[in-house]
Amino acid sequence: MIGYILKRLVSAIPVLIGISIIVFIIMALIPGDPATAILGSFATPENVEKLNRDLGLDKPMIQRYFIWLGNMLQGDFGRSFSLNKDVLDEILERFGATLILAGVSFVLCSVLGVVAGALSASRQFAITDKLITLSVLIGISIPSFFLGMMMILFFSVQLRWFPVSGMWPIYGTRDIAALLSHLFLPAVALSVVATGVIARLSRSAMLEVLRQDFIRTARAKGLSETRVIWRHALKAAMVSVIPVLGVQAGFVLSGAVYIEMVFQWPGVGRMLVEAILKRDILLVQGGVVFVAACYVMFNIIVDIIQSLLDPRIKI
């Protein structure tokens, strides 16, 4: 087992390198002189020349890539001109907020999605199934940012149950209760689409499994229906659901962008959008690489869980 984890970690290295190359290439697509693009309105000829030298932009592409990679490995992601702050510091400051939001949403959508899907499949064509299917359809069709706006309008403005936006109250204590009341709406809004996708997939995976021969064997053994569905069928269905959970984690993590904008959540997503609009390229670059790297690590965990569940995966 430990051997598998180590191997899996080692196999992440080429992926991480790949990510850095892709980001590097994308950023190299920026039209015109990169230094001017990075400095934006701050660009004076002296500044441009200095930055060109600092970033090694006068050197060939491949050399530039290794300089950039080397700097990143030493924790130097560059300096954001718009915030006049170290890029890594800013990301680390913001990432916690995104992690809380995305993490809670992810737990919500995984649990709700799998349960709803399994329930729906086990009662195929019954009223429960139809209700769940309809809710799921609406869930995957609604833009999360629109949903968020409507939730603010209804729960915060009309009913005044939850605060309108932000992560902490402006005045008052920063305790867990305050956080939860701020977190509730954005977390739900963010999880709706993913819940829908997971529920749909769990339902079809369950339907697929329920037709398998080993389910007939379980019934022939005289097991109760509860056991057949929640033990035998669900466990087998999870094999195809778990990889999708991994993909959905990516949707939640990056979909947080919209929700952070709507709810003024101080996370990495909002930082990225603001940076793009201000053309703060170093901040964008750093943010993307950092979040993608975290996601790669998360997927390793998913793989490990999958290998624990399914003995057919060779370790």
């Binding site: 359809l137 609604i142 022939a220 990056s254 940076a275």
Partner: protein, 625 residues
């Protein structure tokens, strides 16, 4: 095509979605010709007018622009961009997927590593990075969304392509002298195409949402041009004071995407071949019984007696009579063989006993199944459960697919052991070990912790048998238990069955298509053809002198070992189609002895003495003895 539409219209929801979508598409196409206000004319004195006010049916936005006009123009733009992104992503992604899947090897490795890298990014993050580089703008958002979705298509299509490349018809095409390009175009593509259509129809909605999202963030369409996303983005500031400016475009996106998703699901269901066989529904725990109360009356000592059983499959309007008027009996310690070809109804008969026929579409419409004098068909699902695995247990054909892949042998055995009452852990273990020893598994302690995929075919079948033995049943019903096994392993398993019968006094129902197997282990045999029992009697007598022409011909068309090269006596023609049974004897058209009467009416089962019965008007003469 008409079939496609008919199938599609069967799903009311999808049809509804199609109507809504067509309406919106028509609106979008004809927007330039509609008598609308200019969407970009600013009139700040009339800002935030409410819906249904004069001159603006849906009201105006924060710059006093007509919302209806902006909505329709925005819809047009959103749909166009979403569709373009979907087509680009589908085209490039599928091309990549087919290439990688078809050529395999290093090309595949290289391409798929690249795709994996793209997929290592959380979805929207990559789109953000691309827009960041290219700069905000609708065109750039389109490119970003398309690129982000390419890996999805590439992966899916590659998977499907690999499945097709390994099919035999592709090898056949190679042997027909076709070049690779030709094979891809004429053999692979037509088979992959439905999958591409499905993938596209289920992702167009996504892509519309994604481009709207980028516009919402201000990274897509730039003012004054507006798609639905940027309309929402601009309205966000006024969400509390003038919610209608957000609600209008928001609802529109919801309707469009929902309609597309409904249509997409409909398309998927129609193109998914499994729907055509009616297998899309989950089987219930017990087969549906829909019949009049039986009047068996015969409360005899016979262990299991199946009387006038009819089992049908109801698929759409078609009724397939899989089992038609079958009566069989099995006594204590007896071994009954049921022999027949595929489609003869032998497996369905066996599964009907414990009501394990998939339902829907299976329904038992007549007869009774008396076990120790009580009719099993009268029991509720819950009561029936007390018989399953305890009194009557099953061994199935393919031991790999019939064992749960994720539980160990030990777990599956102990589940069977304690399915009727709680058993302590150590006792369970002891019993599981005993069972493994009973089925002659070497090294049983080690095997308890093995998973089914770690065992060989013969070993898996032994586990299947051990599970069937767990509660000391009175009868084991074995449905082609050796068909999937090699001949040397088959002999081992047959031996095991024979030994177990002797040791435990078990009754056995053994289903097979092989007379050799029947002759080796069965006391009594029933021959089935087209859903009916055509002949029944003691094995030795039937094999020695068959009464039904079908039995006789079937026996002689199977080559027997030890006679060297020779010509075989083939039965001409094909078995009747199950949904188109002739009114007379089902074998008539293939029978050498057929007479006019055989075609006319159904043939009754007649007793011909010596515990034998036959369903034939002109049976073969049987030898006495």
């Amino acid at each position: 095509m008409t079939r496609f539409i008919a199938l599609f219209a069967r799903s009311q929801l999808a049809f509804f979605g199609l109507i809504v979508l067509s309406f919106i598409l028509l609106l979008a196409i004809f927007t330039p010709f509609l008598p609308l206000n200019d969407p970009n004319v600013i009139d700040t004195s009339n800002r935030f007018k409410l819906p249904f006010s004069e001159g603006a049916i849906l009201g105006t936005d924060h710059l006093g622009r007509d919302l209806l006009s902006r909505l329709l123009w925005g819809t047009r733009l959103s749909i166009a961009v979403g569709l373009c992104a979907a087509i680009i992503a589908a085209f490039i992604g599928s091309a990549i997927g087919i290439t990688a899947g078809y050529y395999g090897g290093h090309a595949d490795n290289f391409i798929m590593r690249g795709v994996d890298m793209l997929m290592a990014f959380p979805y929207i993050l990559l789109a953000l990075a691309i827009v960041a580089a290219l700069g905000p703008g609708l065109m750039n958002a389109l490119i970003a969304v398309a690129i982000v979705n390419i890996p999805f298509f590439a992966r899916n299509i590659r998977g499907v392509t690999i499945g097709i490349v390994h099919r035999e018809f592709v090898d056949a095409a190679r042997l027909s002298g076709m070049s690779n390009t030709k094979i891809i175009i004429t053999e692979i593509l037509p088979n992959v195409f439905p999958v591409i259509v499905i993938a596209m129809s289920t992702t167009v909605g996504w892509m519309i949402l994604e481009t709207a999202g980028l516009s919402f963030l201000g990274l897509g369409s730039q003012p004054p041009q507006a798609d639905l996303g940027s309309m929402l983005g601009e309205a966000r500031a006024a969400i509390i004071t003038s919610p209608h400016t957000s609600v209008v475009p928001g609802i529109m996106i919801l309707i469009i995407v929902m309609a597309i998703n409904l249509v997409g699901d409909g398309v998927r269901d129609v193109l998914d071949p499994r729907l055509k066989s009616g297998a899309l529904s989950t089987p219930r725990s017990t087969t549906e019984v829909s019949k009049n109360k039986s009047n068996t009356g015969l409360k005899n000592q016979i262990l299991l007696s199946i009387n006038a059983l009819k089992t049908e499959f109801r698929i759409g309007d078609r009724i397939l009579k899989a089992v038609d008027d079958v009566s069989l009996t099995v006594d204590k310690g007896q071994c009954l063989g049921i022999i027949g070809e595929s489609g003869s109804g032998k497996s369905v008969t066996a599964l009907s006993v414990m009501r394990l026929v998939s339902s829907p579409p299976g329904v038992i419409t007549n007869g009774s199944i008396d076990f120790n004098g009580g009719d099993l068909l009268e029991l509720s699902s819950e009561d029936l459960r007390a018989f399953r695995g305890k009194k009557i247990s099953y061994v199935f054909q393919d031991p790999l697919s019939t064992l749960h892949p994720l539980y160990t042998v030990g777990q599956q055995l102990s589940e069977a052991i304690q399915s009727n009452s709680y058993v302590g852990k150590s006792e369970k273990n002891k019993k599981a070990l005993e069972l493994l020893k009973a089925v002659r598994i070497s090294n049983p302690e080690k095997r308890l912790n093995s998973y089914p995929h770690e065992l060989s075919g013969g070993m898996r079948q032994r586990i299947g048998i051990a599970m069937a033995l767990a509660n000391d049943p009175d009868i084991i019903i074995a449905d082609e238990p050796t068909t999937a096994l090699d001949v040397t392993v088959q002999a081992q398993i047959l031996k095991l069955f024979q030994d177990l019968r002797r040791e435990k006094g078990l009754a056995l129902v053994f289903i097979t298509h092989d007379f050799g197997v029947i002759s080796q282990i069965c006391d009594k045999v029933a021959v089935m053809y087209a859903g009916k029992v055509v002949e029944i009697g003691p094995t030795a007598k039937i094999l020695d002198s068959p009464a039904h022409p079908y039995t006789a011909r079937l026996k002689s068309c199977v080559p027997e070992l030890g006679q060297g090269k020779r010509n075989l006596l083939a039965i001409p023609g094909f078995p009747p189609m199950i949904d188109n049974m002739p009114s007379g004897c089902a074998f008539a058209s293939r029978c050498q002895k057929v007479k006019q009467n055989c075609y006319l009416t159904a043939v009754d089962f007649t007793n011909i003495g010596q515990e034998r019965g036959v369903r034939c008007l002109f049976p073969e003469e049987i030898k006495a003895g």
